[in-house]
Amino acid sequence: MTGETHETITLNMGPQHPATHGVLRLVLELDAEVVRSCKADIGYLHRGFEKIAENKTWQQFVTWTDRMDYLAPISNNIGYILAVEKLLDIQVPPRCRELRVILCELARVSAHLLWLGTHALDLGAATVFFYTFQQREILYDIYEKLTGARLTTSGVRIGGMARDIPEGWLDDVSAFVRGVAPVIEESDKLLTRNRIWRNRTENIGILSAEDAVAFSATGPPLRASGIEWDLRKAQPYLGYETYDFEIPCGTVGDVYDRYLVRMEEMRQSLRILRQALARVPDGPINADAPKIVLPPKEKVLTSMEDLIHHFIILTEGIRPPHGEVYHAIEAPKGELGFYLVSDGGPSAYRCRIRPGAMINLQLIEKLVLGHMVSDVISIIGSLDPVMGEVDR
């Protein structure tokens, strides 16, 4: 038709929008309902963690890592601590290592359960949300029993753990593993072959394998695009190479594939948990490194040497050697890396956090192009950003 003008409108989505998973703001340019361009505006939750790390002792900074990916706080704690331990070149005892594996996998299940509930809720399937949140409540009780906190766990120490597990804790974890498996299968039944779910997710936000690599994507978005890569296999830490599990992969790289990958990851995490629960050995929980690990309280009161160590560690902090290390873990959101530079002082000279969630979120500007506004919600959910880690 002659004289028809094509006007686009600008739509501001977020930062206060329930479906943007926190304080994510997207500025969308729309042609009718079709997205022509998208700019992500992040930083609403920025708290300057990397600067804070330069002003706290190595141990103190653990508490800040809780507040990054707040859906899997203990796996952030462990990711950071592993980097510090690499810098110090110390090894933790087997008991501690197995417990950390259990905690990392519980955190993955917890984060994926939240993703599943909210992603389904965003797309109109409210039931799943109640199932998954019920299970997360049990997980929070498990964390609380061990660390005293539901969310801000900080239960890990350089060279070990804050305390050994309380009595019956492993049984609680076993009961959770038994209880959550049918919930995952029920959610699967509600969604995987559901016509509406598939219409909302299939062929939406397709990410090619080439783009996934070029844009530094990690975690489920990378694997859904068909690249079989998981740090637990590719660069094993905490003895993951001794566990029997598989890396689920997609073929298309759409929202549906990312959904399938995370669902299977939960099943694989349960598989790892069953193996770990069966082999937690007895023995010490902390490394034998008196200048790094706090001595037991009763020794502080009876032995002069331990009192001195206790005093020095708490007042001055530990002093790792000059050097730089990079250590990354397969966090629920992708590769969570810590690049630590030490000048021999009691706090990090530089602590760079490689945020998997932020680097994956970068793809949003590309993936939504040509899709409808309602699909933007679907794509955000499938990238699973957590703004605490994106903004730090």
């Binding site: 920025h46 070149d89 590719a234 660069q235 890396g337 680097i359």
Partner: protein
């Protein structure tokens, strides 16, 4: 613990042969292979590391900066590379004078976009050739560069 997970010196040797004199130093701390390169050749070296059949560092894991105020060239740009086919990491560093433009790696790895924006946001580093260099985490009107060492924690 992590031996075999980082490049075994092959990449450093190949860069040294391809760009004579460009590798300024080489280190191996805790099994992590690092080279410090001449900033003149930085982009060519990064592209070489990505494309060379023996190196194949196709993945940019991370890009960041470190501020050393007392050094002659106080800004270190640090690239963490990873090779999917070889399963190893590699670290490349280059030092720049304060205010000197750093060539943008966006052409080599599009994923460098937000990482370079964050470096600009936190250190004020200008990445030459970046398509959209503006603050990312801090508000547009923010004054100062928080991760530089002279920036106070409290005002």
């Amino acid at each position: 613990m992590t031996r075999g997970l980082w490049d075994n010196g092959e990449a450093a040797a190949r860069v040294g042969r391809e760009f004579p004199g460009a590798v300024l130093s080489q280190s191996d701390f805790r099994g992590e292979a690092t080279i410090q390169v001449d900033p003149q050749n930085l982009l060519e070296i990064l592209a070489f590391l990505r494309d060379d059949t023996a190196c194949r560092f196709d993945f940019l894991t991370d890009l960041t900066a470190v501020h050393w105020p007392r050094a002659e060239k106080p800004i270190d740009i640090v690239y963490h590379l990873y090779s999917f086919s070889r399963g190893v990491r590699f670290r490349v560093k280059a030092s720049f004078a304060d205010g000197a433009p750093v060539p943008s790696a966006v052409e080599i790895w599009p994923g460098a976009n937000w990482m370079e924006r964050e470096c600009f946001d936190m250190f004020g580093i200008i990445f030459e050739g970046h398509p959209d260099l503006r603050r990312i985490l801090l508000p547009d009107g923010f004054e100062g560069w928080p991760l530089r060492k002279e920036f106070p924690l409290k005002s």
